[in-house]
């Protein structure tokens, strides 16, 4: 918000000694009459918070990215402990690029990978499976019963005979398509993960674990051997590695933003000051986050970027007045106090407005978004000190370069003619307040918005790419995932329904029959590739118990047979149900995780539940709870996102409208300020369709942040314009004045904010890149919209025919 009042109470004072130190309000006197103490306090705070900042944890916690309030998610969280095998496994596929797995050299590398993995802390060794683990066995039904042994012959020594024995055992064990790929060119090592590091007793650090995988196992890859690693822990590890990379982007953002500020002020001294103070703001923020127990996660890591950009761009507007004052000959100390006096209240209001914009995000019931809202509010509060106080105080010592000050005065007096195309356009921008131009501009805007409205209809909910949606489709992880999906058949999009029964209830024929019914109902959908569950295992285990007879691929009503099958299934696949046989997962493997697929599958399971309830069997000890698994959680998240989007629009636009009303005290001005924002929001959604970005947790805050920051432009432009109009000038003159006075600040804010976020577009984390692209668009397009639409709209809404007071209706 611009408070650039030309104040006659601030005369040019050339010597600080002539200045009345008792002038100004109590806060100004308190700060400027104790400058040294104040600066020392800031220095101490910076050192202290800087030290805290270095200890901030970098983590990627999935549970914070999901809507904890969703009943589906609560079902998952309540039963999570009982379902250890769900998702948290690591799969390493070792591929022989030059042959098949029956190659002694390949088997040796496989053994090395196996033994290395076995020793990495966090691996649940007792359930680790591979060709080299004795737990992987072959079985054979003979006339006397069942015989079996380890797949890897005990006497294996690489000789052709023992390799042949291995080949025979692999065939008998029926592990092709499971542990051995269908083309026999690779085999898999699968291990569940422990939650705690057994050596330290502390929660497992996925970052360290993933680093171990890269440094100890991936290094064995060469032109003969390919190594593919997938699993939850690896995704988390890759996210953490991505975060470290994103931190590096901060330097780029700082450099780019500094260049913009320099181009604006043309003063190296004050540019360095502004950048330094903005960085100090970020240091304070990180220190406070650490002290308050926040971690840097893939979302909150974006807050420092935003705070830096806001701090820098808003700080830069301080320079406007001070440079002009100094250019007129005022002493730097006095100029600094004048600036403080002029801008403190206005700046405080603007920052509070920003806080409101971010705070509304708290209503979204997803922890990362809440954290984002809260930490951004903390950051903006920090800016109140750094931007409003530290900058003027420091300026009172260092001042600005004389050339910059002179230049500012020359520009203001209009002696510098516009030289560039942009400069000439800029000079002609006020024609948009004329009728024909206004109609033309509004028509163009309406046309673009109308087209976007049509395109927007195709906006999808959720993630649209295959593999781990957090990472880019071309990332190493997703390539590994695609390789494993292609060669081992099971997709990584798992939709899990949890069957909950009383203790030992999973053994009951009736429970299993219902589970079987649900599995077959799910399989009807073309999006479901296959399902696995205890019920289906019981079918195959029953057949195996009866010597492999296909006639026993059945759920027998004979409870004794089912009981024995369940026991055998629990031995063969321990994660098929929990210890107490009361929580059993039904996993549907989906062809993709598109929102349509997810909602269809969700509906099948919900309808099944409704039918079960409608059938009146309320004493039924069987419940089917939705949902778990990556796809299940995503389905629940999609529902919350869809619900939140409306609430969020209402809150963001409501808060923004209220803010405008308070500032302008005019409904018409509020409408003029909001229309460009609404149009940008619509065009942004169309852009998402064009770029293939879905509406998801990550893109939800983009619109709120875009609108929250975007309204600043209108506040700057309109506040001056209305003030000038109230003095009796024409609309065109008022807008020209407003442009001259604040237009450059608007451009600067837009560009520095965009510079702050555009670097995310190169983040290895997909959703950060999406956020970066969209936020850059929102910041720039809101700026453009404000500059060209405010004059055009003002022609119709803020252009009273009779000269005089502005209509306030």
């Amino acid at each position: 918000m611009a408070g650039h009042k030309e104040n006659s109470a601030m005369p040019v004072v050339r010597d600080a000694a002539d200045f009345d130190r008792r002038s100004g309000n109590i806060l100004e006197r308190f700060i400027f009459n104790n400058r040294v103490i104040f600066l020392v306090a800031c220095l101490i705070a910076t050192v202290f918070l800087g030290f805290s900042a270095t200890r901030i944890h970098v983590n990627a916690n999935f549970e914070r990215m999901i809507p904890l309030g969703s009943p589906y998610i609560q079902n998952y969280l309540e039963n999570k402990k009982e379902l250890p095998g769900l998702g948290n496994t690591i799969r390493i596929v070792v591929e022989n690029k030059k042959g098949d797995i029956y190659d002694p050299e390949y088997l040796e590398v496989l053994r090395k990978v196996n033994d290395t993995l076995y020793l990495i802390p966090g691996v649940d060794r007792s359930w680790m499976k591979s060709l080299w683990m004795p737990i992987v066995r072959w079985r054979e039904v003979t006339e006397d019963g069942i015989t079996g042994g380890a797949v890897m012959p005990a006497n294996y020594n690489g000789s052709p005979a023992t390799v042949e024995a291995l080949r025979a055992n692999v065939a008998k064990a029926g592990i092709v398509g499971k542990l051995v790929s269908k083309d026999l060119r690779s085999s898999m090592i699968v291990t569940p993960m422990l939650d705690v590091n057994p050596q330290t007793g502390e929660p497992l650090n996925y970052g360290v674990f993933a680093d171990d995988l890269e440094q100890k196992i991936r290094v064995l890859e060469n032109d003969r051997i390919g190594i593919h690693i997938v699993g939850f822990a690896k995704v988390v590890g890759d996210l953490i590695a991505g975060l470290r990379e994103v931190m590096m982007f901060f330097a780029v953002s700082v450099a780019v933003a500094a260049i913009f500020v320099y181009l604006y002020t043309r003063c190296l001294r004050s540019t360095i000051l502004l950048v330094t103070v903005a960085v100090i703001g970020v240091v304070w923020l990180l220190g406070l986050m650490q002290l308050l127990g926040y971690e840097l996660d893939p979302y909150s890591i974006l807050v420092p970027f935003l705070i830096f950009a806001i701090g820098l761009s808003h700080g830069a507007q301080k320079m406007n007045g001070i440079i002009q004052d100094i250019g007129r000959g005022t002493h730097k100390y006095v100029a600094a106090r004048y600036t403080f006096r002029r801008l403190f209240m206005a700046g405080l209001t603007a920052l509070l407005a920003n806080i409101v914009g971010f705070a509304v995000l708290v209503i979204i019931d997803i922890p990362v978004i809440r954290d984002l809202a809260i930490t951004t509010c903390i950051g903006v509060s920090v800016l109140v000190f750094t931007k409003l106080v530290l900058i003027p105080v420091t300026l009172s010592y260092i001042g600005v370069s004389e050339s910059a000050a002179r230049r500012a005065i020359e520009e203001e007096s209009g002696t510098v003619a516009p030289r560039t195309v942009i400069g000439r356009l800029w000079a002609r921008l006020d024609v948009l307040t004329e009728r024909n131009w206004a109609i033309g501009m509004i028509s163009v805007a309406v046309l673009i918005t109308a087209v976007s409205t049509v395109v927007m209809k195709d906006l999808r909910i959720g993630d649209l790419d295959s593999g781990a949606p957090e990472l880019r489709p071309e990332s190493r992880y997703n390539q590994d995932n695609a390789y494993i999906t292609a060669n081992y058949g099971l997709s990584s999009d798992q939709f899990v329904v949890i069957m909950k029964t009383g203790a030992e209830g999973c053994r009951l024929y009736d429970s299993l029959r219902q589970m079987d019914d649900l599995a077959w109902a799910l399989r009807q959908d073309p999006g479901v590739q296959t399902t696995t569950s205890l019920a289906e295992s019981v079918r195959s285990v029953s057949s195996a118990m009866f010597e492999g007879s296909p006639k026993w691929l059945a759920l027998s009503r004979n409870q004794a047979i089912v009981d024995a099958s369940v026991s055998a299934a629990m031995i063969a696949t321990p994660d098929i149900t929990n210890q107490g046989c009361s929580v059993s997962p039904l996993v549907a493997y989906l062809a993709d995780h598109k929102a349509d697929t997810l909602s269809r599958v969700l509906k099948i399971a919900e309808d099944f539940n409704l039918q079960q309830t409608a059938s009146g069997s309320t004493e039924q000890p069987v419940e089917f709870l939705l949902a778990a698994g990556s796809a299940g959680i995503e389905a629940a998240t999609n529902i919350e996102v869809q619900k939140s989007i409306i609430t969020m629009y209402l809150a963001v636009y409501g808060a923004t409208a209220l803010l405008c009303l308070i500032t302008f005290k005019s409904i018409r001005a509020t409408i003029v300020a909001l229309i460009p924002l609404v149009m940008t929001t619509i065009i942004c959604k169309a852009l998402m369709v064009w770029l293939g970005i879905g509406l998801k947790v990550a893109t939800l805050p983009v619109i709120a942040v875009g609108v929250g920051v975007g309204v600043d432009y209108a506040l700057y432009l309109l506040s001056v314009q209305i003030a000038v109009q109230r003095r009796g000038d024409t609309l065109r003159m008022a807008y020209r004045r407003s442009l001259d006075f604040t237009g450059k600040v608007v451009a600067l804010v837009g560009l520095t904010m965009a510079a702050g976020v555009i670097t995310w577009a190169w983040s290895p984390i997909k959703f950060q890149a999406d956020m970066g692209i969209l936020l850059t668009f929102m910041f720039l397009w809101n700026m453009l919209g404000a500059l060209v639409l405010i004059p055009a709209l003002s022609h119709f809404l803020l252009n009273p025919k009779p000269r005089g007071a502005l209509a306030t209706a």
């Binding site: 029959r513 009866f546 059945a554 004493e619």
Partner: protein
Amino acid sequence: MVTGDFAVKKRFILAGLARVATLPLVLALASASVAGASADPLASGAPITALALRSPMVSIASQGARVVAVGPRGYILFSSNGGKDWRQATVPVRADLTAVHLRDARNGWAVGHDGVVLRTDNGGESWTRVLDGRSVLEILNRSYEARAAAGDTVAARVKGEIERLMAQSASPDVMPNPFLDVLFSDASEGFVIGAFGLVLCTRDGGKSWEPWIERAENDRRLHFYAAASDGASLYFAGEQGLLRRLDKGNDHFTTIETPYNGTFFGVHAAPGLLLAYGLRGNAWASEDGGASWRKIETSVEASIIAVLPAGGTRLILVSQAGHVFSTTDGGRTLVALQVPRQGEVLAATLVGTNDLALTRHGGVNLVTLPAAR
């Protein structure tokens, strides 16, 4: 089962079944849960679904161009053009089915779990319920209770067995065990046979049934897996080398000793050739009605699941792993036929003499046999 080789006597497993089932907790919950009978497989028909075409059909039979396959959840598929196109039949139950038998192109029988017996008179397009676990239980109780009350000690023993079996059933009024095969030697006389020695006989085309459990020379109640007829006699084959013969006019089976003690999944009976086959590539032939036996050297580890007459003396043998052999001399010499191996074969039948319909986990597929030498 983590280290060392092991061997488990399979009878031991089955003995274990009975012990587990007597846990009072399990039984109490089992009977409490019968409330949700609305979704019971015996209470509603099989839904028509494209999924049926991709399901594991476990038995298949043909008469001319008419082919019928049965599988899980009451799915029955039928084809009227030799297995090229399939449609799903209307079936009154959703029980898992185990066997199908076509008398001719129109009349057929199917059996399955939960004591289900179905019949069709329109080539498999629609089926009616003949028996299910409830009616089977009534028949068993009526028959054995009356005779036990009259002092028949054998019947009293069977009655006790039925009581113990019903203690294992998840539904106290449904006989829980499956029938595993069905055979009609003519339009009126037929047998349904199954797990734990279950045998029912009809002599009026399925209108009334008589339990024959105690007449099959099977005191250990081994599973009967298959029945076959050579026109003169009926044969039942089953676990532990079990083979029984019923001569026309008799109402009691006689034991045929076999040299094999593993499970026979099937028996092929033709005048002058008796061929029993099953586990681990075992197939045994007898040309003297079972007095002496000759091992057929299949040299495969997988079970033999079908022996199909292919015209004249030619027989086709199919293994569960997908091996296909041809023989014209009663199995003395086998010719391996090159048929694409695409995983497990669950059941097989010949359509005509040259097309082999194989059922797999993903559905039925048709292969043309390479020309015989």
